[in-house]
């Protein structure tokens, strides 16, 4: 039955209406969780606020386990969902560049849009930076196009790559996440004790 649009159960004419509605829910959850504040977000790297880790890992587990159950009950054809292609080295390089951008800018693209929505100038400037960065990338593309397309492993899953069943992967993420929730709550308490102000 699922995914509904690729299986033709929902006509493609509804695509953009659904995109808008899902986007509204996405933006609402990000903002309501505190991701419109850069200082809230980067707290995950300094130990004073682990909200990013809590939201991110919880979301990951819920989505992973949910997909497995839908597939297990036969409601979802996992072979029909999009698997991000893996370009190993370019993706590691991209992640490293994004990581530095994250610690310097305090936002990632989705969260910066919610910051723009509530009137944060730093969110607006970050978004302008995103635009400029992608523009620079496209203009300079001939220089590193070969690298960009190198190491193509195709649309592989963790199961394809390591032979670990998806259910075990979800299990491992769950165990690691629960340990992280517990461990980081202790760190957060200790770090906050030494902070004179916590008001963003």
């Amino acid at each position: 039955m699922c995914p509904l649009i690729p299986n033709g159960i929902i006509g493609t004419g509804w695509d953009f209406v659904i995109a808008l509605i899902l986007g509204i829910a996405f933006g609402f959850i990000l903002e309501a969780s505190g991701f419109s504040s850069s200082r809230n977000i980067v707290g995950v790297f300094y130990g004073y606020n682990f909200v990013v880790l809590r939201v991110f890992f919880t979301a990951l587990i819920v989505a992973m386990v949910g997909l497995l159950y839908f597939s297990y009950f036969g409601w979802l054809d996992l072979s029909k969902i999009f698997i991000l292609p893996t370009y190993l080295i370019p993706m590691i390089v991209g992640g490293v560049i994004m990581g530095i951008g994250f610690i310097m800018g305090g936002f990632c693209p989705g969260t910066s849009f919610t910051a723009v929505a509530i009137g944060k100038l730093d969110g607006i400037v970050f978004t302008i930076g995103l635009y400029l960065g992608i523009f620079v990338f496209t203009e300079a593309y001939p220089l590193f196009g070969d690298f960009y397309n190198s190491g193509d492993l195709g649309n592989v899953t963790i199961t394809d790559a390591f032979g670990i069943p998806a259910s075990w992967v979800a299990m491992a993420f769950t165990v690691v996440a629960l340990a992280a929730f517990w461990g980081t709550s202790l760190i957060e308490k200790r770090v906050r004790k030494n902070r004179s102000e916590y008001k963003f």
């Binding site: 893996t86 009137g119 970050f126």
Partner: protein
Amino acid sequence: MNKHHSKNSEPKYINPYLGGVLLGLLVLVTVLITGRGLGASGAIKSTVVTTAHVFTPEQAKSNAYMNKFISDDHSPMYTWLVFETLGIFLGGLLSGIVFGRVKKLRTEHSPKITSKTRLIFALIGGMLFGIGSQFGRGCTSGAALSGTATFALGGAVVMFAIFGTGYAAAYFFRKLWI
């Protein structure tokens, strides 16, 4: 706005685990309906391609990266991610209104730095995130969250690379934040 003057009072945000469950259900519903996950950097890419196509159409078409996203039938803005991103903005605004956080333009920064410093770093950070998201085939939403949730190897690689680098580099940028 009602002002609580206790110095350590935190802003009113929803419980992070509730936020996580809601976000996870949203990723799940998105995959169940569309067969793919959520994204955010793709819409900016569409905007870059569109402006290039409008101002310098020949150059845009001859650019090996941009021409993949240019079609004769419709504008690059007529894509799923652009509408979804418009939604992110509206949803953020809605939440900001509900929780009383929509105010006039302001810059959030550590007391140790000026607004100007914050904005310069926000610009550089945004540029790096923009460049990195192209190599990563997506950003925190598309590659790291949606990618990993669908068990894609590349998603997990991007997730660990972003957060690992964040921790590795945090010390050098601590004055910006703490």
